[in-house]
Symmetry: C2
Subunit: 260 residues, 2 copies
């Protein structure tokens, strides 16, 4: 009988060309599929909650595995982890109804974007945060970012070329906070457009540098035009932090992943 | 005229066979020497404040460079950083009297040892912390560790084979603290014997597991015998955190390096 198992995983995306299997590149999905095959003895289709770009990390990422294997969900994480490289870890496994879908049943996600605000790079944050050398006023940016809250057409915050038609999304939580030299942007929404978080961060950085005016986010949103927003911040600061379903998945791997 | 420049650096030791130049291995000293040669145009002798082992990290490490170059100490860090790999960074440079010695004039050091106390590894702490799966009571270990304070013969906490004769050291600060899943052991002393911090940590873990008795550290110290102490904890959790001289070097790169 085919089972539908929901895995929560965490990964350092530095070495991967994103989640989705590609023909000529190493991806998280491919490496996970290989580990599942090693453990179950058969190829099993794996469906992710979203695609992530090259270099993007996940404190929590969810995917469904369709398998005939009888292995218990209790022993599956350890079995998979023994077959995975150190930069990917399976946190939990649970049995789901056949019709459950990791992406379509997702109610929302939370991302964090980490900025190392320092004149000098840190050897410990290579590929893990954006190095930004100029002053950042986290309290000011926190106030600016609140303009993202609510339901808007986020066309200005979608990479051009995206084929998605409905660009209306609801942002339920947003904030900018500083802890030492680390400035973190956090945003939760019912869904995200392509590069949406990275364009939000780039826009906040452009406001910080004066390239865009203070309080300009409402007009950037209403322009519904990618060119009204700021640059796309680099991938390496971005972490998928939580994935929301109609049930509680528990805490993310944030304690370790969203480190300073 | 030969100048004596004190550099503070920080490095992720994962990729290096420690500090000290070796004939057949990549070391931090070698890579730094190469960068200095690129910047100054000549080989310059570099003397470190201590040796560090393979895989050991530094939030702060100090070394002296003897050079004829006229480059300003203000511009030296950026010039060197442009010639260094991402996992080594020069934090500061200052002119010192000719007779100043990075090692002999060192008044003490502080190390931190990071334990990720979790059943599952974190993809973000690979090579950066010891994964320890069993319960740890940080408050209990903090009380146990206080027995290290003061001036003792630390022969029990010195790797056998060390050629150092005087094994008396003064521990000025010690503590164990938990932040989420990260348990950190911090110790400052006027000097450290070979593997001293790692044996201290191994001993605390052996006390935690019951292999050594509670309150046994005083008797382990007084045994003056390596076999009385616990195991040597692995290198990857160890960070040289601060180096003390008769003047103030400022904060270490701790904000970024001693991340959770």
């Amino acid at each position: 009988m085919q089972r539908n198992i929901l895995l929560t995983i965490s990964f350092d995306g530095s070495a991967y060309h994103g989640w989705q299997v590609q023909s000529n590149a190493c991806t998280v999905q491919q490496v996970l599929c290989d580990a599942i095959k090693s453990v179950t003895g058969a190829f099993c289709p794996v469906t992710g909650c979203s695609r992530t770009d090259t270099g993007v990390h996940a404190n929590m990422f969810c995917c469904c595995v369709k398998t005939e294997s009888a292995i218990s969900t209790q022993s599956l994480p350890a079995a998979l982890n023994a077959n995975l490289p150190d930069d990917i870890v399976v946190l939990s496994a649970r049995e789901m109804p056949a019709e459950f879908h990791a992406r379509y049943d997702c109610r929302g996600k939370e991302y964090v974007y980490k900025i190392f605000n320092s004149e000098l790079r840190s050897p410990f944050l290579v590929n893990r945060a954006l190095l930004y050398k100029y002053p950042l006023d986290a309290e000011f940016l926190d106030v600016q970012a609140r303009a993202f809250l609510g339901t808007h057409d986020f066309s200005s915050f979608c990479a051009s070329g995206s084929s998605v038609e409905n660009k209306i999304r609801t942002v339920s939580r947003v904030g900018v906070a500083r802890e030492g030299d680390i400035v973190t942007f956090t945003v939760a929404a019912d869904g995200f457009l392509y590069n949406m978080v990275r364009i939000m961060v780039g826009t906040l950085l452009d406001i910080s540098s004066g390239k865009l005016g203070a309080d300009s986010i409402p007009s950037v949103i209403s322009a519904c035009n990618r060119s009204a927003a700021g640059v796309t911040a680099p991938a390496q600061g971005l972490y998928l932090n939580r994935v929301f379903y109609d049930f509680n998945l528990g805490e993310s791997n944030n304690a370790a992943g969203s480190q300073k």
